[in-house]
Symmetry: C2
Subunit: 348 residues, 2 copies
Amino acid sequence: MTTTLSPLGLHRVLDPPGVLPQAAWRLDASAAIAADEVRIRVDRLNLDAASYRQLREAYAGDPDKIRAAVGEIIATRGKMQNPVTGSGGMLTGTVEEVGPDSPLGLKPGQRIATLVSLTLTPLVITDSLSRWDGQSEQVPCEGHAILFARSIAAVLPADLPVPLSLAVMDVCGAPALTQRVVQPGSVALVIGAAGKSGSLSAAASRRAGAATVIGVVPTETEADLLRENAGLVDQIVIADARDPVGLAARVQAAGGPADVTVVCVDAAGCEGGAILSTAQGGTVIFFSMATSFSAAALGAEGLAADVTMLVGNGYVPGHAEFALDLLRTTPPVRSLFERRLAAEGGLR
Amino acid sequence: MTTTLSPLGLHRVLDPPGVLPQAAWRLDASAAIAADEVRIRVDRLNLDAASYRQLREAYAGDPDKIRAAVGEIIATRGKMQNPVTGSGGMLTGTVEEVGPDSPLGLKPGQRIATLVSLTLTPLVITDSLSRWDGQSEQVPCEGHAILFARSIAAVLPADLPVPLSLAVMDVCGAPALTQRVVQPGSVALVIGAAGKSGSLSAAASRRAGAATVIGVVPTETEADLLRENAGLVDQIVIADARDPVGLAARVQAAGGPADVTVVCVDAAGCEGGAILSTAQGGTVIFFSMATSFSAAALGAEGLAADVTMLVGNGYVPGHAEFALDLLRTTPPVRSLFERRLAAEGGLR
């Protein structure tokens, strides 16, 4: 399609020509940067969980074979995109060179994380992944990566542990969009309020001026988490979000229906409950990747529900900074994140 | 959950108790209405295409067996919901009795079409479907159906042929939501502009004051349809909506990117093209049931696209009247609808 400079990196697409970098089989990952690009000195890849699982199973857990396979993918494709799963991951590194026309606002020496997928990021590995034990999706390495004008990268803050910052950045689209939508004095409902994106969305609702924040959790254990981290929500509702009638009745009793409902649980079948718990004229934001487009569209129609339904876009300008600020200034959010990270194995 | 009167019809759910009527196995379809209900004298069912296809294949096209199967479903379940496909359809009929507290604004004697699915509408058939030949999804019949307070029904206008009104009502959510979102002076892009929901959405964009309406069609034949019906769009773009880079380049050349993009084609894989053809800060409305939630969410993130993405809700108050008015006052829309209906076999 084009070999002229493109903010989306079309000029780096080698094969097939004319597609977006994510759809390409092979990218040009050469180190020389265009005027609007940035080169990163990579220190770690964080492979997508599905991708790592596929590799581990395909090679029966043999570290040498897994390492060789990942090295081969990157060398062949100019990016880390697992050809079986189609997924990538993200990376951390240090800004090495910034083109004069880059709009990303980065400076050499800054430690950053990429918030766009490895599936569209030109990448070269120079140490044969020799420091990686092949035992986890965390891949220490040396090499370089290229950011385009429309890439997204966030500076890793000096005051927070890297795993904590990465966990926040992973879900930072949710609180940013929530804060845009919630109006002062309104009722906000967060389904999955004790989770990562949920707790940040609850804090964002509060920041936006919600009069009441209702948090839905599936179990007493999760409710205890919210009780121990008092102040994050005003009302705790224990309900199965897949039961529309039961959920809506409990939300009603807790001060609903909601003006804005934020769906942050990765269970399938929560569309009807979210719609039914939302007031006519209200808004539902779906952040769960388990959301069914047709279930949402047909569900609202079947309930004669005049609700605005938003696809949770993971990108809102300034989202990482906003989410990190929420974490810093909302002790219950930080506490919930630290507990979840510890439960997941901490630094891994 | 409840046996008290419910605007959603929960009081008509027999089995299992506590679920929404759509999720129920069996509804109470008795003729006596509650204070907020309406009873319809049914004259025709319009079975969902997927449901009719399944029945025809299951019974090898035998009309007697198909008729018996549909009669048995309705008698057993108290509604016409194909247990295999889960789908229903809609009906036409005449308002017979209106409860004193019904908010639907209907009057006895009015000819109406239901705009909520048969999957949640209590239904009794009294003529054994004897007038149905079993050869199409159009089922002439006698019986009654019940509308709840939050059902949706539209009066069939006297000045338009019934098949034309039904075709408009089938897609009336799209123009209503489009008109809400498009701002005066903006650029509107309709992908699939020569189709039913597309032509109405183009007319709605114009009505909302769009400065430029760009229509995307896949072929020269479809482009000719738009040219013959001049005035519906300002710019015609022939492009494959599944090719993000190609589509965005052609839309750009035609006056884009768009402030509002409306996706009205039922092809899979149009999410990236719609997002890339939309300006930063703009809005994409997905009306296609082929939309993938995750492709939209991850696509926008991968493109660092700050776009608002709406799930096309089929219900907006007043949608049927608005769409019928657009058809009456926009000759190219009426002409396109009449050509499409003729191509589909007209009255069938």
